[in-house]
């Protein structure tokens, strides 16, 4: 049977993708797990591999073609098959016709549960990280056995072997919860500056896929979701002091925690105490799904857009691991080298702009999540303590929440908890 390569669903919101580049041409041999093409989704450009080896018999979607999820990209002749015949059959036969161009649409947003494995004829390169079992895990038989004996969920283990194979070392390190720092991510080129527009001229450019996706999603959110906003000021002296002490101790490990790491950690802890905000809202079904784990989306600015990589299970991570994982994921986000699983299934999002000196702003919710936290800069401010004006490290955060899912008091309770946790960080241990 020739093997059909179809457009995979690479993110929650992806309905179509563009074949940016084919790395193989018709007639070229294809090895299993070889990178065969780059596909641009609404969020990133991702390399993809073929499951099967053989000969690329037919390209149904040339470079630049937009193809709906599930649409045919190409056909691989497996060994023993004649690529020429398959090309002829694929070109003429209606059964394998290339999918029709798609209508631009932000509708039909699929939830994770609706993604069928059949759509995943190709997969993003590298290791399957934590996430739902969307594709077959590659695990050495020994690692599988050890995981079974120790009751380890292999879906949470990152594979270090060829093709992302989970091997004994990975399972044992996971079991030891050694939290060994991941290898430093590859260097990425600095983002190029946009060309300035010369005086007296104007310049019109078509929106990039990402810009279009942002425009569609956020317009929809602001139109559909009844936002309300609550702002709270948080005294950050305790975090600042704790951070300084911890960084001294972590210096030899070359780990330097940021204030935001504490904010992420505290947000996760507060969300576990207020699960109504750690949730996804389904208007069609009139359902609110709350989650027992926190998958924290973190908005990251990249050239001409933003991207929201997801730190999965952040509630179970220590500060050091949050630091290392977020560094890694941010760098790869800027390089547009994120995996599908790292872009989907957030249960809550944080948008930090404190680095830019922004004191306070309100963010737009990323549906189907029900809230987003906008974090301003932690800075010395004049505040009143015991009747005296004193300078204290202070940070303002603003929660945008979906009033269909939660009410003002629930949001206020969450913010109050968040403030308590940051003003008295030891309470995160409680």
């Amino acid at each position: 049977m020739p093997f059909e390569i179809t457009m995979p669903q690479l993110s929650d919101t992806m309905t179509e993708g563009t074949v940016v580049k084919w790395h193989v041409r018709e007639g070229d041999p294809v090895k299993p797990n070889q990178e065969i093409a780059d596909v641009e989704t609404d969020k990133a450009t991702m390399p993809m591999e073929s499951y099967e080896g053989g000969t690329l018999a037919y390209i149904a979607a040339p470079e630049g073609t937009r193809v709906k999820v599930g649409g045919l990209l190409g056909v691989v002749a497996v060994p023993g098959e004649d690529p020429a015949e398959i090309r002829k059959a694929a070109g003429a036969d209606g059964a394998s016709k290339p999918s029709a161009p798609v209508a631009p649409s932000g509708d039909d947003v699929k939830g994770p549960s609706e993604i069928r494995p059949a759509e995943l004829s190709v997969r993003p390169k590298q290791a399957p990280p934590a996430g739902e079992p969307r594709e077959r895990l590659r695990v050495s038989p020994l690692a599988r056995r050890i995981a079974q004996e120790k009751g380890i969920d292999l879906l949470k283990v990152r594979g270090s072997g060829p093709g992302g194979r989970i091997v004994r070392k990975d399972v044992e390190e996971f079991a030891a919860a050694a939290a060994r720092p991941a290898a430093a991510p590859a260097q990425t080129p600095p983002p190029s500056l946009p060309m300035p527009v010369p005086r007296g001229q104007s310049k019109t450019v078509p929106l990039s896929k990402m810009r279009t996706a942002i425009a569609t999603a956020l317009q929809r959110s602001k139109q559909m979701v009844p936002h309300f906003y609550e702002t709270i000021d948080i005294d950050m002296e305790a975090v600042a002091a704790l951070r300084q002490r911890m960084n001294q101790k972590l210096e030899k490990e070359q780990v330097r925690l940021s204030v935001m790491d504490f904010v992420y950690k505290a947000t996760a802890a507060a969300l576990l105490r207020h699960p109504r905000l750690n949730a996804r809202f389904n208007a069609e079904k009139n359902e609110l799904t709350q989650y027992g784990d926190v998958n924290l989306g973190i908005a990251v600015a990249i050239p001409d857009g933003l991207i929201v990589p997801v730190l999965r299970g952040i509630d179970q991570l220590g500060l050091k691991e949050i630091r290392l994982r977020s560094l890694d994921i941010f760098e790869r986000a800027r390089a547009q080298r994120l995996r599908r699983e790292e872009l989907s299934e957030a249960t809550f999002t944080v948008s930090p702009l404190g680095n830019y000196g922004i004191r306070h702003f309100s963010a737009i919710i990323n549906p189907p999540e029900v809230a987003i936290l906008a974090v301003g800069s932690a800075e010395p401010r004049a505040v009143v303590r015991d009747g005296q004006v004193v300078a204290r490290m202070t940070m303002s955060v603003t929660l945008s929440a979906d009033h269909r899912a939660v009410d003002g008091a629930v949001a206020a309770e969450f913010l109050s908890t968040l403030r308590e946790l940051l003003e008295e960080p030891a309470m995160m241990l409680a």
Partner: protein, 326 residues
Amino acid sequence: MPVIQFKEALRAAMIEEMERDENVFLLGEEVGEYNGAYKVSEGMLARFGPRRVLDTPISEAAFTGLGIGAAMCGLRPIVELMSWSFSLVCFDQLVNNAANIRYMSGGQFKIPIVFRGGNGIAHQLGATHSHRVDALFSRVPGLTVVAPSCPYDAKGLLKSAIRSDDPVIFLESEVMLNDRGEVPDEPYTLPIGRAYVRREGSDVTFICWSKMVKLCMAAAEKLQSEDGISAEVIDLRTLRPLDEDTLVSSIRKTNRCVVVDEDWPYCGMGAGIVERLYRRVFDDLDAPIGRVCCEDVPVPYNHYLEQAMQPSVPKVIAAAREVCYV
């Protein structure tokens, strides 16, 4: 303990068995007057006389057939093949007759015979004189295939082979005949069908035999010092029957395995061993079983190409690193 050469160990085994049992005799090309093409049988004609050390013409099909007939009649011949490459012209005698007569006769005839000689690639003998027959004979029911790696094993295993009531294919190597090793003066035999753990290790199991054992031992030492990888080296000693249990228990300990042989890759001896092991150790493996063997080409005459097509210490090290994910 005395240190003797591989060929001296072979000779000692034959002499001891010929003195022990008058039915044992030696025949082959140049074994008598010339004292052996490689001097394995040096002095044996003088010692036992022409009735028990027979020079034959260059006629493998004839003299192996003669040996098989003699075995059917109750003698215990040792047939020396100058090179196992020449066994291709007596393949019918070995496979159809030696291996099958006991079965075809319903057990009426035993075939107590040893065929021995140099196997594999020596040095610049060209494609037709460099054959590795390990897999050719190890796949045949009715044959026993033995491949010693050192003088001690050579003597002990050859004595057991001569005492076996079934035909034994005994694989030596021209390039090992001058190897030296400790061999006791006292008579001893080694059991056929048992592998030997030549070096204990915990990270990867090397399966090897004959001259690949030295290669694997050298690779193991280097891996230990350079990578801290502890390799266990198992010397098969017997290729058929295969001592699966020793291999399986080692792999269950190390979880990784590399099979090293000088056969060709496809349908080679290593391939057959890997097939035997997979279903038993599948759940114990942390990586696919690695293989190091000859390249899939005729053996070149050119020295450098001949070296390049064979297993080497760097190739074994690379394979070990691969299965250990380093």
